[in-house]
């Protein structure tokens, strides 16, 4: 592997108020290699990528790209040099069409400066075909898409630019198995063409499936670069956390007491096109997972249970009693919590503090009349920050300054704090590192043991297989199969999901 070096950083440092995000970092990326960057939440991965792609300027250090020393003042300059980045958080304009998003900043125009929509649509369609994206029309607006479809558009946009170095910051965090496979295929093809890829992910299986080299960061420092072929996930993880980790999570199955009534019973639920005649039950202490391909209607199903999307037919019973849920407010009042997917769009209050973000859904329990009891609120937030090991300098920091995984943990805390009877989780560990995932699984497990009913959507199959008691496979809005966890595996699930 003696290909020429494409990118070289020399002692790059970056400090934010209260945190040294990067500390004298050296990194070498060769031409045509897939180079994975791993590290715990808050290790500095996104910060490094933001520096490479011209979003932030480093405080110290130098960078050589393609044989020349470079200093980017603006992402556009990095793009012109051939560095393209897919950001961790979605950056699409939501009320604009897919194709305009893909070609943003370089809309195809005719002689008179009018945008040539037809040409653009054709090019966009060709791009999607080439990449293997199905089910998205170039003229749809972004807000009509699901979070994972948005992610695919984001990827397509990056691929439509001619890149020498493509940076992907957790591109698969909201993708299911099938789309992940498609993406990995594309990356392999790019590598053949001599494009280098910097690939950030918390999913070790992907990192090992795709990368040539793995660089580990910890607390803003460079730890080591390993050849993928010569290392193992365990070695990488222990380098990430800085110690041997021994315990792995194992669920404590509590048997559902016979004769127990289901906490949630859904009968004949229909909502729009996406949810058709769904029946399902969740018993106290049970974790039920919903799987399926993107677009199978999992998110729509839980959103209609929670009162976000209107239901067109069907009944919902809680503890045997029929309930009317017309808004999330009703649902919360009944003891239901929904952690939604897509934290940037549906989750975070960017300019508000970590404390305010954590307490938002349970705020009424911190109010006497209309007045807030701020001490009590701060204590509760503090408790969850330490329980979930949310990495922040203090509670009053604006949440937008937290790393992606830590934002996710804060939003999970928001819903745990409401102490629900029925907890619905839509991609709960989106962007969360390996260690924190185990912590979260333990918390979920403990809730189940306490008798909370849990409905889980996750695109990560290992997560589903470790946590769930029962797995429901959805296909085009219907429940296509139900598998007890003992009988479920990748193949059987895919068979029902696609049949």
């Amino acid at each position: 592997m003696n290909r020429p070096i494409l990118l070289h950083t020399d002692r790059i440092s970056k400090t934010f108020p209260g945190v040294k995000a990067l500390d004298g970092l050296n990194l070498q990326v060769r031409k045509g290699e897939v180079h994975a960057i791993v590290g715990e939440n808050g290790a500095g991965k996104s910060t490094l990528m933001n520096i490479l792609s011209g979003v932030y300027a480093p405080d110290e250090g130098r960078m050589t790209f393609d044989g020349k020393e470079v200093f980017f003042k603006h992402p556009r300059q990095a793009q012109e040099a051939g560095i393209v980045m897919i950001h961790q958080e979605l950056s699409l304009a939501t009320n604009v069409s897919v194709m305009e998003n893909v070609y943003i900043g370089r809309l195809k125009t005719g002689k008179l400066g009018f945008v040539r929509y037809r040409e653009m649509e054709k090019a966009c369609k060709e791009l999607f075909d080439r990449i293997g994206i199905e089910g998205i029309r170039p003229d749809q607006t972004i807000e009509e898409l699901s979070i994972s479809q948005m992610q695919m558009v984001e990827i397509a946009k990056a691929l439509s630019l001619e890149a020498k170095l493509l940076i992907m910051d957790e591109p698969t965090a909201s993708l299911t198995h099938r789309e992940t496979e498609i993406l990995l295929g594309i990356i392999r093809e790019l590598r053949e063409q001599g494009v280098s890829v910097l690939y950030i992910s918390h999913r070790m299986d992907e990192v090992f499936a795709i990368s040539d080299q793995i660089t580990v960061l910890r607390d803003g420092k460079y730890i080591d670069t390993l050849r993928t072929a010569e290392t193992s996930p365990n070695e990488v993880i222990s380098l990430m956390v800085g110690r041997e980790i021994s315990k792995s999570f194992k669920r404590q199955y509590g048997a559902v007491p016979s004769g127990a009534k289901p906490i949630l019973r859904v009968e004949g639920l229909c909502a729009g096109e996406k949810v058709r005649n769904v029946d399902l039950e969740v018993y106290p202490g049970e974790i039920v997972a919903l799987t399926g391909l993107v677009g199978a209607g999992r998110t729509e199903l839980v959103q209609s249970i929670f009162g976000i999307d209107p239901r067109t037919a069907g009944r919902i019973r809680l503890d045997g009693r029929e309930v009317r849920i017309r808004s999330p407010r009703d649902a919360i009042g009944l003891g239901i919590a929904l952690l939604p997917e897509g934290r940037k769009i549906q989750g975070i209050f960017a300019d508000m503090s970590v404390r305010e973000n954590i307490s938002m859904a349970g705020l009424r329990s911190f109010a006497r009349g209309l007045m807030l009891m701020r001490k009590k609120e701060a204590r509760a937030a503090e408790e969850y920050v330490s329980r979930l090991a949310i990495r922040t300098t203090d509670l009053e920091k604006e949440i937008k300054f937290l790393s992606g995984g830590n934002q996710q943990k804060a939003i999970l805390a928001r819903w745990l704090l409401t102490k629900p009877r029925l907890l619905i989780l839509d991609e709960p560990t989106h962007g969360v590192d390996v260690g924190a995932k185990a912590e979260i699984y333990e918390i979920i497990d403990r809730l189940a043991q306490e008798g909370v009913g849990i409905l889980l959507i996750s695109s990560e199959l290992p997560e589903v297989l470790t946590l769930a008691d029962r797995i429901l496979v959805m296909r085009s809005g219907e429940v296509a199969a139900e598998l007890p966890v003992g009988e479920a595996d990748q193949e059987r699930i895919m068979k029902f999901a696609t049949a």
């Binding site: 976000i308 999330p328 407010r329 939604p340 209050f349 300019d351 938002m360 705020l363 209309l370 807030l372």
Partner: protein, 318 residues
């Protein structure tokens, strides 16, 4: 030591400090150019002048924090003054005039709020329409002529407690209430959440529509209060009173650190923003800047404040 770190951090987060600094610099400059600026008489004058802008800015601030806007404040102020004066001329006692005018203000706010949340019309358009409707109604009621008021209600605008004008006291009360509301109450927290991310707010169980209507109702009430103060100052209700106030008010809010994209802003900052506008206007008079230049300058100040906000936003999101 830790307490010290925390204190330093808190001070670093006080976004009002640059605004306060700007206000002080402005005062020093004007005081240096005109010795009259720092006389007691003029200081009370400045306070009285900007008290109405500050009261309105508190309401406008709440609206802008939710991500909305209200262009009708000046026109509503005029209309409310006229309505109050009309009731007074019918011989209503002052408390009744007060309550009824406040109720009119709340009703006008409810109407805007309902149009925005239930009919889903853009707040810019709704309040632009309201502005025209309110101004037209004032002219219809009065036939374009001022109504003179001979009623205790003028105490709000003309009265003094000791040396201090009542309107200034009202301003402080409104500001303190606004401060407590935004920092210590449940609905206050909710309006920031709505301005930050309305969808996430709804998913967190916040009754977003109700909260949005509420801020327009508060605005309506504050317009009524201001209308009575302005007409009380001169013992006359002018149908044209408050013309153009929306600009000063929105400028005060933006200078005070709120963002037109919502979710940000503090009441102390907003009141200081109003003070900056008041001092600026007073300075123009003292320094005998021509009225035409005043108009131009105020426009530039507004554009400048919004530009700073948008540049700040851009660098934060980059």
């Amino acid at each position: 030591m830790q307490a010290l770190v925390r204190l330093a951090r808190q001070a670093g987060r006080q976004k009002e400090i640059p605004i306060l600094a700007a206000l002080l610099i402005l005062c020093v400059v004007i005081a240096w150019m005109s010795p009259f600026f720092l006389t007691w008489q003029n200081i009370f004058n400045v306070f009285r002048q900007f008290s109405v802008i500050a009261i309105l800015a508190v309401g406008e601030g709440l609206i802008i924090i939710t991500g909305g806007i209200d262009l009708s404040v000046g026109a509503l102020l005029g209309l409310m003054g006229v309505l109050g004066a009309t009731l007074a001329s019918l011989g209503w006692p002052a408390p009744a005039v007060f309550v009824a005018t406040m109720a009119f203000g709340c009703a006008a706010g409810t109407l805007s709020g309902l149009l925005i949340t239930k009919v889903r019309i853009n707040p810019f358009i709704v309040t632009l329409g309201m502005m025209s409707v309110a101004r037209g109604t004032s002219l219809l009621i009065t036939g374009g002529m001022p109504i003179s008021i001979d009623n205790g209600i003028t105490y709000l605008g003309g009265g003094h407690i000791g040396n201090v004008p009542v309107s200034v006291i009202i301003m402080f009360i409104v500001a303190i209430c606004g401060y407590v509301f935004t920092t210590r109450t449940l609905p206050g927290r909710n309006i920031y959440a709505i301005g930050n991310n309305e969808r996430a707010a709804k998913l967190s169980g916040i009754p977003t529509d109700r909260m949005k209507i509420m801020v327009y109702v508060i605005m309506g009430a504050l317009c009524a209060l201001s209308g009575m103060i302005v007409s009380g100052t001169l013992d006359t209700a002018e149908p044209a009173a408050g013309t153009g106030y929306e600009l000063d008010v929105i400028a005060a809010v933006v200078i005070g650190g709120a963002s037109l994209s919502g979710g940000k802003g503090s009441i102390p900052g907003i009141v200081m923003g109003a003070a900056i506008m008041g001092v600026l206007r007073n300075g123009f008079v003292l320094l005998q800047v021509s009225a035409y230049w005043q108009v131009v300058t105020i426009g530039l100040v507004i554009i400048g404040a919004v530009a700073i906000d948008s540049i700040k936003n851009r660098s934060a999101n980059a």
